[in-house]
């Protein structure tokens, strides 16, 4: 009697619609979520200038004047250069005078953001190359493989000394 009951076939659950349900979930997630990455160039701005603060004098030899004019023309100390050349120039300056150099950035009000961003990127590439070399020499691995302490040490060794002058109004606005 019992035997017979056990031998009875268990009815199978109909799971045909599970695929449809999960498809619906999938489409819901595709619609409500976005793929765009939260990536970018991280920068630290200087605090707002105080009223009584006097601008510091720096030796002119250590300053590199990087300018972008209204036509997105990049100039460095008066000479027209490309972004690649800017990277090389920043690199050699930061290598020779690690803690004393200043890169002064100035953009025009009509400069497009893309040109400005490329310029910032070119400067950061130069620093990153120097830091990567330092990391390989002293820690035996690339900058990205460093621990936080090592990164802090490298960042102090090769500080990013970028000064940004406010944009002068007037002209093409």
């Amino acid at each position: 009697m019992f035997r017979k009951r056990y031998r009875q076939q268990i009815p199978e659950l109909n799971t045909t619609s599970t695929a449809d349900i999960s498809f619906m979930l999938l489409i819901f997630f595709l619609v409500t979520s976005s793929m765009d990455t939260e990536k970018g160039l991280l920068r630290q701005m200087a605090p707002p200038p105080l009223e009584h603060e006097q601008p510091k004098d720096i030796n002119r030899d250590n300053v590199m004047q990087v300018k972008l004019d209204g036509n997105n023309q990049l100039t460095c100390d008066g000479k027209t250069i490309t972004y690649k050349e800017l990277t090389a120039a920043v690199r050699s300056l930061a290598f020779v005078n690690r803690t004393g150099h200043v890169i002064s950035i100035q953009a025009d009000a009509a400069t497009t953001y893309e040109a400005y961003f490329k310029m910032q990127d070119a400067v950061v590439i130069a620093y990153q190359e120097l830091r990567d070399e330092y990391a390989k020499k002293h820690f035996g691995h690339g900058y990205n493989a460093c621990t936080n302490d090592e990164k802090t040490a490298i960042n102090e060794y090769y500080p990013q000394r970028i000064s940004e002058s406010p944009i002068q109004e007037g002209g093409a606005q």
Partner: protein
């Protein structure tokens, strides 16, 4: 030529049904993949913009302490690249650049002490945006002591 009988016999044979039992599993795998690699869209972007491309980009660490600022052209029409006023959007709504310090202060008030120190402003700016507007926004951020900024960009390999 085959005999008649065998021809009829063949056509009456039923097609074996496909086993679709593993189909939900496959779709669930895709679903989980998408759930992991994407994140929920936090706010609707009301301006049209395309961020620039950069090499030295880093990932933003903490999502809670990020304020999004979008700078792009106003208007919905995707086809027109020209036209439309430049507008600044902070998180969910279009704002006047001069109101940014007050709004940042308001956002900061709602954050925990840890996140207040980590507050980062993610700037998503259109490639063609004039620097005059961008620097105006930056000056206002400076006034609000939101000094950590992040120029959003898509990564390109060297």
């Amino acid at each position: 030529m085959r005999p008649m009988k065998s021809m009829f016999h063949q056509s009456r044979r039923s097609v074996p049904s496909l086993n679709v039992a593993s189909m939900p599993d496959l779709i669930f795998t895709v679903l989980f993949f998408f759930m992991i690699v994407t994140h929920m869209r936090s706010d609707e972007v009301k301006v049209r913009l395309q961020v620039p491309e950069g090499v030295e980009v880093q990932k933003l660490a903490n999502k809670q302490s990020v304020v999004n600022i979008y700078i792009g052209r106003e208007g919905e029409k995707k086809g027109r690249s020209k036209g439309g006023r430049w507008a600044v959007q902070l998180n969910g709504n279009i704002v006047n650049p001069d109101d940014i310090p007050a709004l940042i202060e308001h956002i900061r008030g709602g954050l925990s002490a840890e996140n207040q120190a980590r507050l980062t402003v993610s700037l998503r700016v259109d490639r063609q945006a004039p620097m005059g507007l961008v620097s105006e926004v930056k000056r206002n951020l400076q006034q609000a002591y939101a000094l950590k900024i992040n120029y959003n960009a898509t990564e390109i390999k060297k």
